[in-house]
């Protein structure tokens, strides 16, 4: 502790260099905090709970068929695919988590339909699709045969029986029992018969975090009004083989259709494809952090080496008048600690500023203090590690240097 004052006095003589290193640390601190925060956010987003039994599901998208004969196509596909060994179920479903945002609807609980309050995604499917999804019911009941009604205007049944997610129920009817409640979209009426734990919207990142689970499952019989999207259920171990056989079987079952290969796949693959960009972004951020740490460390090594070389004589004198090797070592370590601390103090301000900017442009929240503390510790350690080499060289300066060339 008593060493701090002479160190500060020495640093004052190297204002420019000290300032540069502190500035570098400050910038590194700001970028480090925010980059880590972004990484954690991305990883969090990538692990969104879909609410469906992903490992045993695959999804198939067909296009190019005659819309007037959708019913016939659905029948052929269901019969044809069900015959493949290992297929446990095939259902008609308009979309799937990590597929296309095909049906986004504004909803209102106002019977006069004046104020639309929420934007939700509707999954519209038959009984087999609901069985395949394997949603976890937390209240109410699953649809019975009577609840699957025929679709009007190619949208949903006029009076739909729906399952909604818990987060949607809590947001639409806070503190109330959502079962039996009604909502509307244009002149279509929906009644809530059950609440499920989770069901993510198909493209979770297209919506602010709070609304990523605002989904409803609408029970429907597809008829001629809906088709082209099929959910296939199989044992997880057999699913890859089953899906390969499905792809081989399609040209025989329905020669007229065009398979949408981007939209079709095992659900695990669809999830992976959907988050590919996020994974790339996490990689880029990690790369930037690594490069940043390396550059900062090298900067510290360079400057510390210079100072050691420049002060060889002073070190020699100190050693000659009684300072131990440990004292010299500690001198450089404390010096580094002080510079890094200055940098961190300034860096915290910068980090919060950067966070405010990011909050405006991106969907991030306030930077939690834990990131600042962690970054500070990492930078302190990095500084100590970087200065260790030069400091040990300084400690090795023999006292006899003091007697030379004075």
């Amino acid at each position: 502790m008593m060493q701090i004052r002479p160190i500060l006095a020495a640093l004052r003589r190297h204002r420019i260099a000290t300032f540069l290193i502190a500035l570098e640390i400050a910038l590194a601190c700001a970028v480090l905090c925010n980059a880590c925060f972004l990484i954690v956010n991305r990883i969090h987003a990538m692990h969104v709970v879909s609410g469906v039994d992903e490992k045993s599901l695959a999804y198939l998208v067909l296009d190019g068929y005659d819309r007037g004969r959708t019913n016939d196509l659905n029948a052929r596909i269901i019969a044809g695919l069900s015959a493949i060994p290992g297929v446990k179920g095939v259902g008609v479903l308009n979309t799937i988590p990590f597929g296309d945002n095909s049906s986004i609807n504004g909803i209102t609980i106002d019977p006069a339909r004046q104020r639309y309050s929420h934007e939700i995604n509707t999954y519209i499917g038959d009984a087999a699709s609901l069985r395949a999804l394997n949603l976890r019911l937390v209240a109410g009941r699953m649809p019975t045969t009577d609840d699957y009604r025929s679709i009007a205007n190619g949208f949903v049944p006029r009076d739909s029986m729906v399952l909604i997610t818990r987060s949607l129920a809590d947001s639409v009817w806070p503190g109330e029992n959502p079962l039996g409640k009604d909502f509307w979209c244009i002149d279509f009426h929906f009644r809530v018969i059950g609440v499920v734990d989770h069901l993510t919207i198909p493209e979770p990142e297209s919506r602010a975090a709070a609304g990523r689970d605002f989904s409803a499952f609408v029970a429907a019989t597809p008829g001629n009004e809906m088709g082209g999207g099929y959910v296939i259920q199989a044992d997880p171990r057999e699913l890859p083989r089953v899906f390969r056989e499905v792809m081989l079987a399609i040209p025989k079952i329905a020669p007229e259709v065009v398979v949408d290969h981007d939209g079709s796949g095992l659900l695990s693959d669809l999830r992976e494809r959907y988050f590919l960009n996020d994974r790339a972004m996490v990689g880029i951020l990690l790369g930037v952090i690594a490069a940043l740490m390396l550059v900062t460390a090298l900067g510290i090594v360079g400057l510390a080496s210079f100072w050691v070389q420049q002060r060889r004589k002073q070190i020699g004198i100190r050693r000659a008048i009684g300072a131990t090797r440990g004292d010299v070592l500690r001198y450089f370590q404390i010096e580094n600690f002080l510079i890094v601390t200055m940098g961190i103090l300034f860096g915290v301000l910068l980090a919060y500023t950067l966070n405010l900017v990011l909050m405006k442009a991106y969907e991030v929240t306030h930077l939690p203090a834990a990131y600042l503390v962690t970054s500070a510790i990492v930078l302190w350690l990095l500084g100590q590690l970087a200065v260790l080499g030069p400091a040990l060289r300084a400690a090795a300066v023999p006292p006899v240097v003091a007697t030379r060339s004075v």
Partner: protein, 442 residues
């Protein structure tokens, strides 16, 4: 003198290869990262139609008849059928094009290939002249074809390569779903970035706008021809009323058509604005719409700006790279300072022997610039590597990532500026070394 300083610089840099290497590397990595991301930004935020963007306008009215159903700060991004046709058929602009995109099944009766899915642009004849679309073979259809709903099409060079092996396919037949159209034109490779005439809905996209940089459609047909052959496969931007037949949006309460107009003078812009306002007022009086004062006429660049077309990830990467460059710069300044001050003795002697401050400064700056040139060259190579990595990303704009002449020049300029900037402070400091003090300590 300069060549001598240059010689000295090389000698001095050789003297401590590790330190020199570090500085060059730091500048190279900083410049490489910055230029990669800035190049992507530059490509994505550029003007897709330079010289013409300020005479092209996107017309919007708010066709919703349903009073309080939504908030209506901005009109919807597209028009309903009625408004689009009303505005278009008045021909109040120098040129005008209706645009609507839809997925279509493509095949050619005289080519043995399984059908594929592609995109169909249903538009009007002015489209090609308005947007400077280049033709390889043939040309556009005429206004008369628009009126007669002729079964004709213009196809992209990619579709022409895929179906016909790149030969002149004008006059051949293309099948869109179940209907045949005659090819009248084949485009040259055309890749506007973004695909500006289709941009809409950016404010609802949470920054996920990479798909605006997709390739143009495979086939283009007269507006009504497209609506007929691909009936039942149109997608709405938004609806206030459910369409009676899904995918058939003519007359439905849906917004799904874009209208671009070309207005060659300020006066025409003003008069078109009042034309829009009058139209909305008239429609409100008729009771068809409820918001007469909610019309817009943005020019092309304003429309792109309004839709925030540059993906938020790309902007984030650019900011990251720039802050990284600043850190690298700090680092280089520090290391150069160390390097010059280490030679204080040498500089002291030169000063004592008569070198002026200016000469010392010039010498140090040249040494810094040499590092800058090497760093710049390295940065340029790393930029090429970085853009190669961008091209491998699974995004719609991946194939656009290349270094054009202006960015190539900017890379070198940035490198030299960065190193000169990095060198100035240490060189100044070195030139102020007092000779007497240094000579005493020798």
């Amino acid at each position: 003198m300069l060549s001598y300083y240059f010689h000295l610089a090389i000698r001095s840099l050789r003297h401590n290869k590790v330190l020199t290497g570090l500085m060059v590397l730091a500048i190279a990595v900083g410049i490489g990262a910055s230029m990669t991301t800035l190049t992507v930004m530059h490509l994505l935020s550029g003007n897709p139609l330079p010289g013409k963007s300020d005479v092209l306008f996107y017309a919007q009215v708010d066709p919703n008849p349903n009073g309080a159903a939504s908030r209506h700060q901005e009109p919807p991004d597209k028009l309903d059928y009625q408004s689009a046709i009303d505005l278009w058929s008045k021909h109040n602009a120098d040129r005008q094009a209706l645009v609507v995109e839809s997925p279509v099944k493509l095949s050619a009766p005289d080519v043995k290939r399984p059908p594929s899915m592609g995109m169909l642009m249903s538009t009007t004849a002015d489209f090609f002249t308005m947007f400077d679309v280049p033709f390889q073979y043939g040309g556009s259809w005429t206004g008369e074809d628009d009126a007669r709903r002729s079964r004709v099409a213009v196809i992209s060079s990619e579709l022409n390569d895929r179906l016909y092996g790149g030969v002149n396919s004008v006059g051949r037949t293309l099948r869109l779903r179940n209907d045949d159209v005659r090819i009248v034109g084949v485009l040259k490779p055309w890749r506007p970035a973004p695909q500006f005439y289709d941009v809409a809905g950016g404010r609802f996209s949470q920054g996920q706008t990479a798909d605006y940089y997709a390739k143009p459609e495979d086939a283009f047909t007269p507006f009504y021809t497209g609506l007929e052959v691909n009936d039942g496969h149109f997608e709405q931007f938004n609806c206030w009323d459910a369409p009676k037949v899904p995918g058939h949006l003519m007359g439905a309460g849906c917004e799904w058509i874009g209208l671009w107009v070309e207005l060659d003078s300020k006066a025409k812009v003003t008069s078109y604005r009042s034309f829009l306002a009058n139209y909305a007022a008239q429609q409100k009086a008729l009771g068809r719409i409820s918001y007469a004062d909610n019309t817009r006429l943005r020019d092309l660049m304003d429309w792109l700006q309004f839709n925030q077309v540059v993906p938020s990830d790309v902007r984030l990467q650019a900011w990251l790279a720039l802050s990284f460059l600043v850190i690298c710069l700090c680092n280089t300044v520090g290391l150069l300072l160390v390097k010059f001050l280490r030679r204080s003795g040498e500089i002291g002697i030169r000063r004592a022997l008569g070198a002026s401050r200016r000469q010392i400064f010039a010498q140090c700056l040249i040494e810094a610039s040499v590092i800058g040139v090497f760093g710049g060259a390295g940065g340029w190579l790393l930029t090429l590597v970085g853009l190669g990595l961008v091209r491998r990303q699974p995004v719609a704009y991946a194939d656009l990532a290349h270094l054009d002449v202006s960015m190539f020049g900017l890379t070198f300029l940035l490198a030299v500026l960065v190193s000169a900037f990095a060198g100035t402070l240490p060189a100044l400091r070195a030139s102020r070394i007092a000779p007497a003090l240094q000579l005493k300590t020798l």
